[in-house]
């Protein structure tokens, strides 16, 4: 990873985190303040991203939406990861039959399209942010599980592990000294990669009207809302969409570089 790339990545992350933690630094306004008389303003100096149908400042909403969208992404990924790690560890260390059983299970989960699973989950949780998180989390878990499983297996069968065994190190020491630390970096990369996808999935659910309800400035919801005025007020669709793409792409790039630099 070249120095310039590092710098860009750093700036990117920094910006995202400021937007997520202290949005008011970047956009002092109130993302929920409506003002019908100001509705549908085209982008201008005053409203860099224009205003929406209720006269809310789109820029402010996009910035303040970072937290929501990111939280959903993080939470969903965390959930997916949690399950994945659990399954992964069980397959890697558990007896053969558990391994094969879980593999089957994963295959099943794999065979059900992610969105179908999400829809099913939402069908009995009802729409909303938390259901969206759960849905996305669960539907991304199988993918992670496979990766983690293979990763752990390679580690457990590595010469590094053998060497420790020969030196008479206890199972726990091997896990603590080698397995966990060497897995963390992989997980980190996976998570960054995952967040991007999670954000997209969540926004897709919002698009179908099953995610975070308005007026919360969640990007997907904003998009779903703005697409009605596609022909009339393009800025309502373009900017939140761009935000999603940026964060998803950014996260992926970070993840990739992380994986690269680790190997």
């Amino acid at each position: 990873m070249s120095r310039t790339a590092r710098i860009f990545a750093g700036l990117f992350v920094g910006l995202i985190f400021i937007a997520a933690l202290f949005p008011s630094l970047l956009a002092p306004g109130d993302p929920l303040a409506v003002n019908p008389s100001e509705a549908f303003q085209t982008p201008s100096l005053q409203h860099p991203f224009g205003t929406d149908e209720s006269g809310r400042d789109v820029y402010t909403r996009v910035v303040h939406g970072t937290a929501d969208s990111l939280t959903i992404g993080l939470a969903a990924t965390a959930l997916g990861m949690g399950i994945a790690i659990l399954l992964g560890v069980m397959t890697a260390f558990g007896p053969r039959w558990i391994d094969s059983m879980i593999l089957r299970l994963l295959e099943v989960l794999y065979a059900i399209p992610a969105l179908l699973m999400a829809l099913l989950i939402i069908a009995f949780t009802g729409p909303g942010t938390t259901p969206a998180i759960i849905a996305v989390g669960l539907s991304t878990a199988p993918g992670y599980s496979r990766l983690i499983r293979t990763h752990l297996r390679t580690l457990v069968n590595s010469e590094m592990f053998d060497a420790a065994t020969v030196l008479g190190h206890s199972r726990w020491h091997k896990i603590r000294n080698h397995l966990i630390p060497n897995t963390l970096s992989t997980l980190l990369a996976l998570i960054t990669l995952g967040i991007g996808q999670a954000v997209i999935w969540a926004s897709a659910l919002s698009f179908l009207g099953l995610g975070t309800p308005p007026p919360a400035p969640e990007w997907g919801a904003m998009l779903a809302n703005g697409r009605t005025y596609l022909h009339f007020a393009w800025w309502l669709t373009v900017f939140p969409g761009a935000a999603i793409v940026t964060i998803a792409a950014g996260a992926t790039l970070l993840g990739r570089t992380a994986t690269r630099s680790r190997i």
């Binding site: 420790a164 020969v166 030196l167 008479g168 020491h173 000294n177």
Partner: protein, 541 residues
């Protein structure tokens, strides 16, 4: 015939690194290849021998300058890529070292061999089969349709030769064509290469192994750091080497060198910070012991329906070395893993100093583990990539409880001393160390719990000759000083002869013969052993 096929004057090849640094891989070397003669280019890693070889095909990938670069009459100093392609394969061909990826694993070998030929696919395939036949490929028609992963190492190497010869070129360059091959295969390939000369081909053989080059080459040039240090007719160069480096290389070859006789007299060329004063002319002070450090009985292991090891019994007397030789797939590594308790045997048992070791629960034998250490072919893979030298050692010294605590630092330094490594390396990551240094570090770690036994699985096969020499000497010294017992596993007869008191020979999972080094090397009784010994290069410095 006497006009040189290839003539090179003051060839230099330079590479430009990503950060604009220019590296001169080859510095004004000159050489000539003559029809019907073989030139051997010997050198260790980084000597620039491969780059030199590739400059004959315009495939260096670097910037090439030469006063003369004459290939079969054409001046190759300024050829276009297109013109080079006309030369490659047709006039000059290259035989690559056998690696899984030297042949595209996704294509049948007949296409890998013949896709450069004109004509219909049918015609090309026939040509490929013929070529395979010419290199004595068993069942060439069948093999032609298979892909490299389905072939044995020997078959692949044959295919690679066939590939080079398919357009019967006038010049052939063999780059490490015999490296990583088992003894008998090496012999076979060397014979085939030797034939090339008889077919009037101008032949260049690149290798790090002087012994093998000596089998084929009429003239030899010795390269180091991109320069030719010495060159001359094979006999002369071997019998009366001028340059110290050449001497060192020759001395480093363990073949026929007496047990414990040092292989590395001259330290100046070694890449380690070794000091050899304490190991000038050692004496074997060991008195034979009747305690057996390792006692293996009827060990068997099968993977699926394939029996990897079958009924192996052996014992290693305390303080002595048992050499375990065999070709790849003979089951020696599996045996080692079972002895180390990394693989659970299907049958049989392992005893360490009379105590039951395997098969057993890990918890039951943990205390025995302190008496047992292991060294692998690729030390790097056995280190945690995140650890520095000191962390590796501390982790080992503390039984894995810590990798930081300073209380072990003193001991860590002592270990480095023991393996002749400078303690300035403590803060380094193993990745920054040279091959030799890594192997020493691996040994140091293995010695941390002061074991009485070391199981060494191909500990030197990845190393350059001179480095191998220093490591072997180190091992010898340690044995004399600590009376550690070795189980020394290798495919290299020369090494095993030099290192072992007794030798056990394995093939196809079975142990066919055991005896003193003398017996095995000079009076083998089992036919397989006889073949093996016969195949070894019959050459002494």
């Amino acid at each position: 015939m006497n006009t040189p096929a290839v003539e090179i004057q003051n060839l230099s090849v330079t590479f430009t690194g990503p950060d604009k640094t220019r590296v001169e891989a080859v510095k004004n070397i000159s050489l000539t290849l003559t029809r019907g003669k073989a030139l051997g280019i010997v050198g260790e890693s980084g000597s620039g021998k491969s780059v030199t070889a590739r400059s004959l095909l315009g495939l260096t990938g670097g910037h090439v300058t030469a006063d003369t670069l004459n290939i079969l009459g054409t001046d190759a100093t300024r050829l276009t890529e297109k013109q080079w392609r006309a030369i490659r394969g047709t006039k000059v061909a290259m035989i690559l070292q056998d690696a899984l990826n030297s042949l595209d694993p996704l294509r049948p070998i007949h296409r890998e061999i013949a896709d450069a030929l004109p004509g219909s696919r049918k015609h090309r395939k026939r040509a490929a089969v013929e070529a395979l036949h010419a290199v004595e490929m068993p069942a060439p028609i069948l093999r032609a349709d298979q892909r490299s992963p389905e072939l044995s190492g020997g078959m692949r190497q044959r295919a690679l030769i066939a590939q080079a010869m398919i357009k019967n070129p006038a010049v052939v360059v063999a780059d490490e064509a015999t490296t990583a091959l088992d003894t008998r295969l090496t012999r076979m390939v060397l014979d085939q290469l030797a034939e090339l000369k008889d077919r009037g081909i101008a032949f260049a053989m690149i290798s790090h192994d002087l012994a093998q080059i000596a089998q084929v080459a009429d003239d030899i040039i010795v390269m180091r750091h991109g320069e030719i240090v010495e060159s001359g007719p094979t006999k002369q160069l071997l019998s009366d080497p001028q340059h110290d480096y050449t001497k060192q290389l020759l001395a480093a070859i363990p073949r026929g060198v007496a047990r414990f006789a040092p292989l590395s007299q001259v330290a100046t060329f070694d890449d380690t910070t070794a000091t050899f004063e304490n190991f000038k002319d050692p004496v074997d002070v060991r008195e034979p012991s009747d305690i057996s450090a390792i006692e293996v009985h009827g060990l068997s292991k099968a993977f699926g329906d394939h029996a990897a090891v079958f009924g192996v019994s052996l014992s290693v007397p305390q303080g002595s070395t048992l050499g375990l030789v065999g070709e790849s797939g003979s089951g020696k590594t599996t045996t080692a893993r079972m002895i180390l308790g990394l693989e659970r045997p299907d049958q049989g048992s392992v005893r360490i100093f009379g105590q039951h070791f395997a098969p057993a629960k890990e918890s039951e034998r943990r205390d025995l583990r302190d008496r047992l250490g292991a060294i692998y072919q690729d030390p790097l893979a056995s280190f945690d990539p995140r650890y520095t030298t000191s962390q590796i050692l501390i982790n080992a010294l503390s039984d894995g409880t810590t990798s930081r605590s300073r209380q072990y630092l003193k001991r860590a330094r002592e270990l480095l001393d023991l393996v002749e490594l400078n303690s300035s390396l403590l803060s380094r990551s193993p990745r920054e160390l040279s091959g030799g240094q890594r192997q020493r570090l691996a040994i140091a770690r293995a010695l941390a719990p002061t074991p009485d036994i070391l199981v060494l699985d191909e500990p030197v096969s990845a190393l350059d000759v001179s480095v191998q020499a220093t490591v072997l000497d180190l091992l010898d010294r340690l044995q004399l000083e600590t009376r550690t017992s070795y189980l020394f596993i290798t495919h290299d007869l020369a090494v095993v002869e030099h290192m072992s008191d007794r030798i056990a020979v394995m093939t196809q999972g079975e142990l066919v013969e055991t005896g003193t080094a003398q017996q095995i090397m000079h009076a083998p009784s089992h036919p397989y052993t006889q073949q093996l010994i016969a195949a070894a290069p019959d050459w002494n410095p």
